[in-house]
């Protein structure tokens, strides 16, 4: 179990969090690679169905940020 890594799907707002994730790269910060980012135009676009679909597809966590 110690090697278990959660799989995380994130929905990031184009204007803030997605840009922040880019800046994390510019700043060469490091974080685990078990995250997949889906860019959305605004967190207002986020639908509960997206979170459910991600969980159904095997994600262990869904992160919405904006």
């Amino acid at each position: 179990m110690s090697e278990w890594e959660p799989k995380i799907v994130s929905f990031l707002c184009n204007w803030c969090s997605y840009g922040a994730a880019d800046l994390a790269g510019v700043g060469r910060m490091e974080y685990p690679a078990n995250i997949r980012v889906i860019r959305i135009p605004c967190t207002g676009r986020m639908s509960p169905k997206f979170a459910l679909a991600a969980l159904r597809e095997g994600a262990d966590g869904v992160w919405v940020s904006g």
């Binding site: 799989k7 995380i8 799907v9 184009n14 997605y18 840009g19 994730a21 880019d22 800046l23 994390a24 790269g25 510019v26 700043g27 060469r28 910060m29 490091e30 974080y31 690679a33 078990n34 997949r36 980012v37 889906i38 860019r39 959305i40 135009p41 605004c42 207002g44 676009r45 986020m46 639908s47 169905k49 997206f50 679909a53 991600a54 597809e57 095997g58 994600a59």
Partner: protein
């Protein structure tokens, strides 16, 4: 990296001499990969982080820098300082961008007008020996503390003390360090921003460190006179930030610890001692000496505080015609005011140049668009190596190989640098040759490079929306460099997700719409006429709609400005100028009966008595002003000696007997402002009363003048008035909200009773004139708000697009805002905002046509259940209901593509699933989600 050395010539034909310092990096070649930075051996204090962290001699100042290009600091670079003994960056740079041979160059620009925005330098507190800033690491400047709180700062936002890395439990802020101080600095003015930023820092510090962090702010007057600032101050008090009114003299180290000991006196005269873990000095703004020197060289007049001198009726014009000023060089100010000034200066500079507008434009060649509708997707995938930036971590050939196996993928290439001009040409060629109809670029980030690659698609004859990026650099190789396998795996997933999304994209159309070139300004007060004047001078037919009988508004009620200007005289001249302007059409005694349409195409019905008239216009400026609160407190109305501020102005104008015969005058501040049911500061009343107190003292030096106040808020260089008033013997008595003064009228005398804040005993003053500095209350016009679908806050002021960055416009396109309808402000700031609103409007009018984005929401009217959620949630007023009498789909919702910003709020909110967001539609996002499962 460039400096202005001199400006010769005059308005319309300036010659600006510019010295450009060498970057030692070729901007056209640098791709900001950071290889140089990693290998540079020279570590020096990081100026951006206020010296709290280290950086290298080759650097970008901060992550958000534009352009994102490295530069070499010649003062510290080993190669430059020691004659060629290093050059590691040059050897390592994959694009050969490092160029030690670059020299300083001089350039002369020929321009018609100039805007100065050189900013300020924070005050350096090293000279205050009693604060021990230079010696004690836990005494820091507010800017240093900002970096400690910042996620991109030296401690990544973790709140610790610099001396020992321990989390502080008690922090104190000292206000007015290098401001309002002629003792230890030369800065007599108030820096306007420090009270607010200290409160903000205290609140954020508590958010970072937890509520048990004790924050104390030591201040003289709390100056939260900006929009929504007073509420923030109240909330900070509720959150437990302690406010102590005292200017602390000395900070002593506590021997054997890194703690700090201070002594201070409380309001009731008690001497207290306290120990803090950390002390933050709220340093003020000042004009740096080199800027004072430049101003001298450019022949610009400065104020006593060494800011650029301007006239209140032309607040962004310097003493030299054609040279304009904005920001903190014009006077200490916060972000919203700087943004307002910036727009106003742009407008002023544009007025001079309006004749030359569009005389140097070039029209790009348009490649006809290929029709790909109903074609099977043929996806081209371009995987970028970005030198070693991606390829050094991610196995790019493996990702490219993998991409070939994905559905609909026809062609895959890996590029060394996808963004280089020659690669762009090759990509366009490949798109045409392989007949590709969808493109994926796996490279850096769409935030910076999507427009560039879309341009390539357009050049290849493809609709630019048939494109998707996979972010395998910023969000992959750069952040997982120690895990190449996982990074490669992630890159595969990101490419697959992008391919599955792009296969479902359709070409999108960008609608084009003509912008009616006429402007309408609602409100003929000073901000409205300033906006109109500016619009007309830039060549636009402008209509001023004024409900009253004449132009000028509230300003007619004012006597003199703090500058000494006679308002009536200046205003008369301004109104005459406006009335003579052929492009300005004044509609007096006129109101709005209805407004139809939207940005670029408004149709407004004007009502003048019984007559109606229709006006078509492209933009609207709301300048509906505010009025004076008529007090219900302090016995107002019971005696003719009790006046409001404007009534006193009238008496001063008329040289009334009341003023002539008065031997004592009392002003009571915050009448109706900063009260529980009106929790905002009216911003101008302190200055107004102090100025009138001086006027009374000038007319009769023997008059006893008292100002009863809570905090004196003479911000910026208005502070000099406060000093002058005290010098002239005006007596300032402080009171609190809990213990307000009492006024009674007794046998024809007006008696004011107040508790003296020094002695703590009640005193009574017989006032021959009692002036109530009453609040400014907005003309909260619900109907107008509904006409233009613009919001109002709970106080009745209109809500701008963005409190800091969009103060003179609304979120609804084509509608702009200025003057008192936005927030109380003095004449100079009203004029600046009038011009700012005009400036923002011209950015729209000058385009003549609006191009909408293709990525907008669209309603399927057959599925619409008319619930109205989309209409109510949209911040941009894009959805509306069709008319009941329309032939097709009556009363169903529709979305105006011109107003839609593509946020998708309506899409997610639509109960019936009737709204699509083109470019980010459900099927596309679901397809991305579905293609994740192989991945994770």
């Amino acid at each position: 990296m460039s400096e202005v050395k001199n400006i010769k010539g005059k308005v319309g034909n300036f010659e600006v001499e510019i010295v450009r310092h060498p970057r030692y990096v070729d901007e056209s070649l640098c791709i900001a990969c950071g290889a140089c930075f990693e290998k540079c051996p020279k570590k020096i204090p990081d100026t951006y982080n206020q010296g709290l962290a280290k950086r290298k001699a080759i650097y970008v100042e901060y992550a958000q820098a534009v352009p994102l290009k490295y530069r070499i600091d010649p003062e510290t670079c080993i190669y430059i300082q020691k004659g060629g003994k290093c050059g590691a960056c040059k050897k390592l740079c994959p694009t050969g961008a490092v160029d030690f041979d670059q020299k300083e160059t001089t350039q002369t620009l020929n321009v018609g007008s100039v805007v100065l925005a050189p900013g300020f330098k924070p005050f350096d507190p090293s000279g205050f020996d009693t604060y021990n800033y230079a010696n004690l690491p836990n005494v820091m400047s507010a800017l240093e503390f900002e970096r400690i709180l910042s996620a991109s700062g030296p401690t990544t936002g973790h709140l610790v003390r610099m001396s020992d890395g321990r989390e502080p439990k008690k922090i104190a802020w000292f206000q007015c360090v290098g401001s309002r101080d002629i003792n230890r600095s030369d800065n007599a003015y108030c820096s306007s921003v420090c009270c607010m930023y200290a409160i903000k820092e205290a609140v954020i510090a508590k958010e970072h460190a937890g509520d048990d962090l004790e924050c104390t702010i030591f201040y003289m007057d709390m100056r939260t006179m900006g929009k929504e600032f007073e509420r923030f101050y109240i909330r900070a008090q509720e959150k437990g930030v302690r406010f102590v009114r005292c200017r602390v003299h000395t900070v002593d180290p506590v021997p054997g610890t890194d703690d700090l000991h201070i002594r201070y006196v409380t309001d009731d005269g008690e001497l207290k001692e306290e120990i803090f873990d950390q002390i933050v000095l709220s340093v003020g703004m000042q004009t740096p000496p080199e800027l004072v020197e430049l101003a001298k060289q450019l022949d610009l007049e400065l104020t006593p505080g060494r800011f650029c001198k301007t006239d209140p009726f032309s607040p962004v014009s310097t003493s030299r015609e054609g040279i304009y000023v904005c920001g903190a060089f014009q006077g200490p100010k916060d972000i919203p005011q700087s943004v307002i000034d910036a727009s106003a200066a742009a407008s002023a500079a544009g007025e001079v140049l309006s004749a030359a507008r569009n005389s140097l434009t070039k029209v790009p060649e348009v490649v006809p668009e290929t029709n790909v509708i109903n074609e099977r997707p043929r996806v081209g995938v371009f995987v970028c190596r970005c030198g070693v930036n991606i390829a050094g971590v991610v196995d790019v050939p493996a990702v490219a190989e993998y991409a070939k196996t994905l559905p609909y993928v026809e062609h895959v290439v890996d590029n060394l640098y996808s963004c280089s001009q020659d690669t762009q040409d090759i990509m366009a060629e490949i798109i045409r040759e392989k007949n590709l109809n969808r493109v994926v670029v796996a490279a850096c980030t769409p935030k910076t490079h999507e427009p560039l690659f879309q341009e390539t698609l357009i050049n290849a004859g493809l609709n630019k929306y048939l494109f998707e990026m996979a972010n395998i650099r910023n969000q992959d190789s750069w952040v997982h460099k120690n895990n190449p396998e996982m990074a490669t795996e992630k890159a595969r997933d990101l490419v697959r997700m992008a391919v599955s999304k792009v296969s479902l994209t359709q070409p999108l159309k960008e609608a084009e719409l003509d912008v009616n070139q006429a402007a309408m300004v609602i409100g003929g007060g000073i901000s409205g006429i300033s906006a109109a004047k500016s619009l007309a001078k830039q060549g636009y037919e402008t209509h001023i709609i004024e409900k009253g009988e004449r132009l000028g508004g509230q300003a007619w009620n004012l006597y003199r400005l703090p500058s000494g200007d006679n308002v009536k005289k200046r205003l008369t001249a301004l109104v005459e100028e406006v009335e003579k302007e052929p492009k300005i059409h004044v509609h007096l005694n006129t109101t709005l009966a209805s407004v139809e349409g939207f940005v670029g195409n408004f149709k407004t019905t004007l009502q003048n008595g019984g007559a109606q008239d229709v006006l078509e216009h492209g933009i609207a400026v709301i300048a509906t002003g505010a009025s004076e609160y008529k007090p219900s407190e302090y016995a107002y109305g019971d005696d003719p000696k009790i006046l409001t501020s404007l009534e006193l102005d009238r008496k001063l104008m008329d040289d009334d007997d009341l003023v002539k015969k008065a031997e004592s005058a009392v002003f009571i501040q915050c009448v109706g402002s900063r009260e529980p049911d009106r929790p905002y500061c009216s911003r101008i009343c302190c200055t107004h009363s102090v100025h009138n107190a001086i006027e009374l003292k000038r007319r009769n030096p023997d008059m006893n003048v008292f100002i009863l106040y809570r905090d004196i808020r003479t911000y910026g260089e208005k502070e000099y008035l406060y000093q002058e008033a005290r010098k002239l013997g005006v007596i300032f008595v402080r009171f609190t909200l809990e213990k307000k003064p009492e006024v009674r009228v007794e046998d024809g005398s007006v008696i004011v009773r107040v508790i003296d804040h020094v002695l703590g005993v009640p005193m009574e003053i017989e006032a021959d004139i009692l002036t109530l500095a009453s609040a400014i209350i907005p003309n909260a016009d619900e109907k107008l708000a509904q006409f233009f679908k613009v919001p109002m806050n709970e106080d009745g002021f209109f809500v701008e697009r963005h409190a800091k960055l969009g103060p003179s416009e609304f979120a609804t396109d084509g509608v702009f805002l200025c003057g008192l309808a936005h927030y109380p402000k003095p004449i100079d700031e009203s004029i600046a905002q009038g011009r700012a609103a005009a400036s923002r409007a011209v950015t729209l009018l000058a385009r003549k046509k609006i191009h909408t984005s293709g990525q907008v929401a669209e309603v399927n009217p057959g599925w619409c259940s008319q619930c109205g959620v989309c209409v109510s949630v949209c911040p941009y007023s894009a959805p509306t209901f069709r008319g009941a009498d329309e032939r097709f789909w009556p009363e169903k919702a529709e979305i105006n593509a011109v107003l839609c910003k593509g946020c998708g709020l309506c899409v997610a909110s639509c109960r019936s699933g009737a709204i699509k967001l083109k470019g980010f539609d459900n099927d596309q996002i679901f397809e991305q989600i579905f293609s994740i499962n192989e991945a994770i």
